[in-house]
């Protein structure tokens, strides 16, 4: 019996190779392949290859099983189509489904979309929405919510308004002999006239210290798409960016939603004036590495949002050193007009550092919120300024998804080209922001609330940790809720900005008028 069990398997290959096979027959029953193995010279090779192959196919099988398992596990939808028999029985499938779910219609959205849907709005968005619905108005709605959560500069609106009144028609109609220029297709990455004008405007703001090259610019429909575009260009799904925290609450949506990129906060502390240190960057970087995340860059905002301090020249150098060492990118989100010239500290743009120093420019990318800088946030124009040709080319093509209306571009071209107006606007705007800042910060001080000293933007970063109980995120959110619902003031709590110390709040005061400041202070006093 033993004999004929093994015979068929053994016979074909080894017979010719060895004459000694007859002796080994005892063992063959147990392992039919042994004959092959022990056969001769080829035996060892076959003996290795066959199990290898088996093992390999096993692995392959496991993998393919796994994958299909993952797919169907992640979103519930696929199960439905799988129920139905592949061949036919159409009517029946439908009826089966309609039994399970009424109306038989559950067309699912993608899993990335359901992530967006499920995501609960954090207090920042809750506050914005609520204050939009019940907006304070001196005459019509004196009991409404005062909006201090939105970084929007209305202080110099009248200047812009006057200009628009005088020039709108001319800038759109008179300039062109025909309408072609405004209604027709135009390059998605922005009109070259506007790029030129913007380059001029930016150099003017920087007082000639930096010259900007219009060919390195792409115009987007706002800051959010500009940042998203860069993240798309620099990182792949699952990569990460380091972002010094506290950071603007908008970044979470801008960066994570569609690109699938992670944010690693680099915590900064009040004891350091919330300034960025290389040590903490290194720590965050190493932590990310440990988690297996690939860090592709650092995103900073200058002046920092929400804190409002400026990055010093030294910090910028350190940042670039760090980026060079790790071979990663730097995205700087800069506001041009916002920062006020200070005796102690001047605004240093990344473009300036890059121009003067021997760093690799290819890793530096700058974002400007153009229309926001000039108090026209509704115009939604952002600028991507990069030194990296690949990024420029790619983002130029991606601009098809976020291009700016030619109408707005035309208006801005003539606005930026009116250099007398621009100079005047910058001067007036700075004065007004400064005065408002003094007034608002002074008001808070009287209430016993201290703000970060270096606040320079159109917002201030206030320390209300003395007023929260318990001293934790919970206490902070309670105070935020009281401010919103009782005092009717919408401020942004630090937890939305991923600040690790509880009790900090961001107040955007540039949408107020001077008259409203005492009212705001009065309302805050009520809840303290």
């Amino acid at each position: 019996m033993k004999q004929h069990l093994q015979n068929p398997t053994k016979n074909p290959p080894p017979t010719t190779t060895s004459g000694s096979t007859g002796v080994v027959t005892d063992m063959r029953v147990i392992v039919p392949l042994q004959g092959v193995v022990q056969g001769g010279g080829g035996g060892l090779i076959l003996g290795s290859i066959i199990p290898c192959a088996l093992f390999y196919f096993f692995q392959l099988y496991l993998k393919s099983k796994n994958r299909s398992g993952d797919d169907s596990a992640a979103p519930p939808p696929p199960q439905l189509p799988e129920i139905e028999p592949p061949g036919g029985g159409l009517q029946r499938v439908q009826s089966v489904r309609s039994i399970w779910s009424p109306r038989g219609s559950n067309s699912q959205v993608s899993s990335r979309a359901s992530f967006v849907i499920k995501q609960v709005d954090n207090p920042y968005y809750v506050g914005l929405e609520k204050s939009c619905l019940d907006c304070y108005d001196e005459v019509c709605n004196p009991g409404g919510i005062i909006q201090l959560g939105f970084d929007e500069n209305k202080l110099s609106l009248d200047v812009v308004q006057d200009w628009l009144m005088a020039h709108t028609k001319c800038s759109i109609v008179c300039q062109d002999l025909q309408m072609n220029g405004i209604t027709a297709y135009h390059p998605f990455d922005g009109l070259s006239e506007l790029k030129m004008a913007v380059a001029g405007f930016m150099s003017q703001v920087m007082e000639g210290r930096v010259l900007f090259d219009p060919s390195q610019m792409n115009l987007t429909s706002g800051v959010s798409p500009a940042i998203e575009m860069l993240v798309f260009c620099l990182a792949d799904l699952g990569n990460a960016f380091l972002v010094p925290s506290p950071y603007s609450p908008d970044l979470d949506r801008d960066i994570k939603w569609r690109t699938g990129v992670e944010i690693i906060p680099v915590p900064c502390r009040s004891s350091d004036n919330f300034s960025l240190s290389t040590a903490s960057l290194n720590r965050a970087y190493n932590q990310a590495k440990k988690r297996g995340l690939k860090v592709q860059g650092v995103i900073v905002s200058n002046p920092s949002n929400p804190v409002g301090n400026l990055l010093t020249r030294e910090t910028l150098y350190n940042l670039l050193d760090f980026a060079t060492e790790k071979n990663i990118h730097v995205i700087a989100n800069e506001t041009l007009v916002g920062p006020i010239d200070d005796k102690n500290q001047e605004f240093v743009s990344m473009a300036e550092i890059i121009n003067s120093e021997e760093y690799d420019r290819k890793r530096v990318h700058i974002v400007y919120g153009l229309s926001k800088d000039i108090s026209l946030p509704g115009f939604k124009v952002g600028v991507v300024y990069s030194f990296n040709q690949t990024v420029l080319q790619a983002s130029k093509k991606l601009m098809r998804f976020s291009s700016v209306s030619s109408l707005s571009q035309r208006l801005l071209v003539s606005m930026f080209n009116d250099s007398r107006f621009v100079r005047e606007f910058i001067k007036i705007n700075r004065e007004r922001v400064e005065r408002m800042s003094d007034l608002f910060v002074g008001g808070l001080k009287e209430l016993g609330i201290k703000c970060m000293k270096s606040s320079r933007g159109s917002y201030c970063w206030a320390d209300m940790s003395g007023f929260i109980r318990p001293y934790s995120e919970k206490g902070e959110l309670e105070l935020w809720e009281k401010l919103l619902n009782v005092a009717k003031i919408n401020a942004t709590p630090g937890s939305c900005c991923h600040c690790i110390e509880p009790g900090w709040f961001r107040f955007c005061f540039a949408s107020l008028t001077e008259k409203q400041v005492p009212l705001v202070m009065e309302r805050i006093r009520e809840v303290l």
């Binding site: 692995q59 706002g222 998203e228 569609r258 890793r363 946030p377």
Partner: protein, 530 residues
């Protein structure tokens, strides 16, 4: 073939251990091999077979493991993975090796950044850089590749000139309406006006609900946002081919979604048939791809035909049966000029009461109102989830506020819109007839089309060889010799070679003889050698 002492010793020791085994003979007969493979002694012992399988398996496994580890990081960042683990040293090393330590871009854009190789984009670029002008540049390239309507520019121009200031600045009361932040998904006033326009364009009793409208900066982001909302990376959409070449960018680039062409043929007049759709769907399923929906353009771009009510109904059935979505791109719905009536997906959905939430309509002002520069696109969906996501995603593609203002008042001016649409259709009709007749005289036939700003013409008689290469040769000749840019069918993924899309709305009536003359030169050159 010398045998070393120790080895022989070990072998004999092994043989001793495995007494009961009848090994001696085979071992002696194979000793010659041992030098080459030291493991053989073990293999041939009793546990030999097991070890003999385990060891190579393990080695193979580690090899695979090693390969995998080596492969994955460089995919996105080739030179640095070694450096990143070791921090301080890496800096100095990377500085030594590559003095600047080149920063890497993401792998998804490296393909995007590459130069255009599709003839569609090459032609567009060329025609943009050297545009034909009757007076200034009579030797330039005539642009027939861009679906842009310039026939009615004068009407728009008049309106804007007359109403500019009031519409943007709202009669001078306040600019805060245009300069402050607006909801990203569009002002309610504009949505209302847009709903009105859409019903008027459809020309029926279909009403559009403003709350189901999301405004985006053009139809391109509208399609991309829908794609983001409906499909995940690696999912697919079925799309009747030939299709608009831009979809390859809109749908695929950032979303990672794939398009599966469903080929329509000239014998069916390029209409979509359900069996073909079914076949494509099943093939995709077989390949393990997950189909999330169908992307239609109605009126079809590039063919210009309309979908019949029956087709739409059966499409809806198909989608319901497979539980997939339908995106209906109706951006040319107001630019119909034929006798056939245009049936919107919205109309079908209105009459059928079930299953609305799998239908999404894309619309825009770029074609029907010839305002492509304004970048106004519309997502109209019946699915609350999709609307929520789309509203949130418009933060990346919102419409500029002054534009919204201007467009709102333009659309609210119903008498203007009405007369505009009528005159636009008339002019399209005239131009279409002129152009198609001109081509007919040259012996080039077109499919019968009733909408769109283009015609789909059959030049298969002129290409040699009869394949894509021949088609591209002809395209090249037309572009470089004839100085005419048209879109070859291969860019539209048409499976039959020799078809071309010509957009005639960028022309002036007086330009038509010039265009025909240029085409004739190329046609004759093609025919003469034969």
């Amino acid at each position: 073939m010398t045998q070393t002492g120790p080895r022989r010793l070990r072998n004999s020791a092994l043989d001793d251990d495995s007494q009961p085994q009848p090994q001696p003979q085979p071992s002696s007969s194979t000793t010659g091999m041992r030098l080459i493979v030291p493991l053989q002694g073990i293999v041939q012992g009793r546990g030999g077979l097991i070890l003999g399988s385990v060891i190579p398996c393990a080695m193979f496994y580690f090899l695979q493991f090693y390969l995998k580890r080596r492969r994955s990081p460089p995919a996105s960042n080739p030179p640095s993975p070694g450096n990143l683990t070791d921090l301080s040293r890496s800096a100095s090393r990377s500085n030594l090796l590559l003095p600047r330590g080149r920063p890497h871009v993401s792998s998804r854009v490296s393909s995007i950044a590459k130069a255009n190789d599709s003839p569609y984009y090459i032609g567009l670029d060329k025609a943009t850089s050297d545009p034909y002008d009757r007076l200034c540049n009579p030797g330039g390239v005539v642009q027939l590749g861009l679906a842009e309507n310039r026939l009615t520019l004068d009407l728009i121009e008049n309106w804007i000139t007359n109403n500019l200031n009031e519409s943007i600045l709202g009669g001078g009361l306040s600019v805060s309406g245009i300069v402050t932040y607006q909801p990203h998904d569009g002002m309610p006033e504009l949505k209302l006006a847009m709903a009105g326009l859409m019903s008027q364009v459809v020309g029926k009793t279909v009403t559009f609900n403003p709350s189901q409208i999301v405004l985006t900066s053009g139809a391109t982001p509208a399609i991309e946002i829908l794609c983001f909302a409906l499909a995940d990376q690696g999912n697919t959409f079925l799309i009747p081919a030939p299709y608009y070449p831009g979809f390859d960018r809109d749908m695929k680039w950032r979303t990672g979604v794939e398009l599966i062409p469903v080929h329509c043929r000239s014998s069916d007049n390029f209409t979509l048939s359900i069996p073909v759709l079914e076949q494509a769907f099943n093939q995709a399923r077989k390949r393990g791809q997950k189909v999330k929906g169908i992307l239609l353009s109605n009126p079809s771009n590039p063919v210009g035909n309309l979908m019949t009510r029956e087709t739409l109904l059966s499409l809806l059935d198909f989608a319901r049966e497979k539980n997939i979505h339908i995106i209906s791109d109706e951006i040319f719905s107001g630019s119909t000029f034929g006798d056939e009536e245009f049936v919107s997906m919205a109309e079908i959905i209105d009459s059928e009461d079930a299953d609305k939430d799998r239908v999404h309509i894309v619309y825009g002002l770029s074609k029907d109102l010839s305002l492509p520069g304004f970048r106004v696109g519309v997502i109209y969906s019946y699915n609350e989830n999709v609307l929520t996501v789309a509203r949130k995603m418009t933060r990346f593609s919102s419409v500029s506020a002054p534009t919204q203002r201007l467009v709102t008042s333009m659309l609210s001016d119903t008498t203007f819109i009405k007369s505009y649409t009528e005159r636009n259709r008339e002019r399209l009709r005239t131009m279409y007839d002129l152009f198609v007749d001109g081509l007919k005289e040259l012996g080039i036939g077109c499919t019968k089309s009733s909408g769109g700003l283009y015609c789909w013409c059959d030049m298969s008689g002129l290409i040699r060889p009869y394949n894509e290469k021949g088609e591209l040769d002809l395209w090249d000749k037309l572009l470089n010799v004839g100085k005419i840019n048209i879109t070859p069918g291969s860019s539209c993924h048409c499976i039959e070679p020799g078809w071309f899309r010509c957009c005639f709305t960028t022309l002036d009536e007086n330009d038509i003889p010039v265009v025909m003359e240029r085409i004739r030169l190329v046609v004759e050159a093609c025919k003469s050698p034969a």
